[in-house]
């Protein structure tokens, strides 16, 4: 499934954040969005995931228009995201954070929560799946620790596990490598490649250009709210003007 948008515009208090952006992220690939601070990268992600309303424009997941849908409906369409800052429930365990991210749980309903009909079996299944995801991201040893006691890098890995628990077709990741140690960053890149192998579409905003070169299939460069270049990394990232302005 791909994600695309057309004619997106957004300004904040008179400052133009996005000025008529139209992009398409290829299905089943890894797309990197790069650009200087304040270029509009996160604003684009916020709009696509329903966290922000644009002044104009439309956006789609596959053939379905998701313009104006609230975040929870966007998530149900198979599109999940992470944020630049880590957003976890710090007082509950690592395992519980992942279990809570699983969609359509029977126990979400008041009656089922009280009567617990069919809930126990489903929770056991959720727990198995959550444990599998924690193993996938390498946090199995932290399963029963409170999320708030994890290091920043571990919290980034946990947000990725929570994202995957929602069974998305498209993942939007806002600076997944920021603030993480080289080893953890390499681990996250390996996980993203595995996610791509599973047929998912990954879109990530990133300042780490070496990482973009390593795993991206497609690069979109945004500056001052407009797309200034897009294409395969070997083509886009080797342009002298791009190298000078955004990479050097």
């Amino acid at each position: 499934m791909n994600i695309r948008c057309t004619g997106l515009r957004k300004s904040f208090d008179g400052v133009i954040a996005l000025g008529n952006i139209s992009v398409q992220c290829p299905t089943g690939g890894i797309t990197a969005i790069i650009g200087p601070n304040g270029a509009g990268k996160t604003t684009l992600l916020n709009i696509l995931t329903g966290f922000l309303s644009p002044d104009a424009g439309r956006w789609f997941v596959g053939e379905r228009e998701i313009t104006g849908l609230p975040p929870y409906k966007v998530a149900r369409m198979g599109l999940t995201r992470t944020f630049q800052d880590v957003r976890l429930i710090s007082m509950v365990t690592v395992l519980e954070n992942v279990m809570l991210a699983r969609p359509d749980q029977t126990g979400e309903g008041l009656l089922h929560a009280i009567l617990r009909i069919g809930v126990a079996g489903e929770e056991a299944c959720n727990q198995r799946e959550a444990s599998r995801l924690l193993q996938f991201v390498g946090l199995e040893k932290q399963t029963n620790e409170r999320a708030g006691t994890l290091s920043y890098g571990q919290q980034k890995l946990l947000t990725l596990a929570c994202c995957l628990a929602a069974q998305p077709e498209i993942l939007l990741l806002d600076e997944p490598l920021a603030g993480v140690h080289t080893d953890t960053a390499a681990n996250i890149l390996r996980l993203l490649q595995q996610i791509r192998q599973n047929g998912k579409t990954v879109v990530f905003v990133e300042h780490n250009i070496a990482a973009v070169r390593e795993i991206a299939d497609f690069v979109i460069v945004i500056d001052e709210g407009t797309v200034v270049a897009q294409g395969p990394p070997r083509e886009v990232l080797n342009r002298p003007e791009i190298l000078e302005a955004y990479v050097a």
Partner: protein
Amino acid sequence: MPDPQPHLGIYDLHTGYAKKEVLGGVTLDVLPGEVVALIGHNGAGKSTVLKAAFGMLPIWAGHVALQGSRINLPSPRIMLGHKVAYSPQGNRVFGELTVLHNLELGGLTLASKAELREGLARVLLLFPALRGRTKQRAGTLSGGERQMLSLAMALITSPRLLLLDEPSLGLAAPTTRKALDVIHALSSNQGVSVLIVEQKVREVLRIADRVFVLRNGRVSFSGKASALEDEARLRAVYL
């Protein structure tokens, strides 16, 4: 000539969260006007060192000293009184408030409006990207701009000792370089002492005088930053 008294001394520091010990006896110091980098794996305890030194976490054992004087129960209020500023990880700003109001909050402990005005002028000069955005809500800034605002809030009181937790988080490469240059200039031109936690190791080593490497809550290496210029040496102590 005897070594100068450290601006910040941390001695055999033990602390953690709930019952989990994160720091198991950390000793480090920052000399006046020096930039000291604290690097290491995620979870090594770097941010915990800064939090404990600033009084955001109780100290289980060991102690913190400023210019040779032991601080018995460090608290943010006490540390601010000693001209110590702390910029936490993750560009913590007040999203619902304007950039200007955030900066004014950063300068809350300043004695007069004149000092606040002077502080505002100075930080807006350091971070020109914020100049045209003083009336904009901080929550609508980009991540990098919020990071600059967070730094500016720490700098508005003209601190003599800066505790910085990943100031480059979310900054593009050219902006990272500029931000670290600003920090280096504060140290070399104004004598501000800096203890800086950073994952962009190559960048921070460029401006640091000395470096401490933390591993599992203990100092595993300390020395001159120039000692890690060699890639193989850096990999051996850091990776």
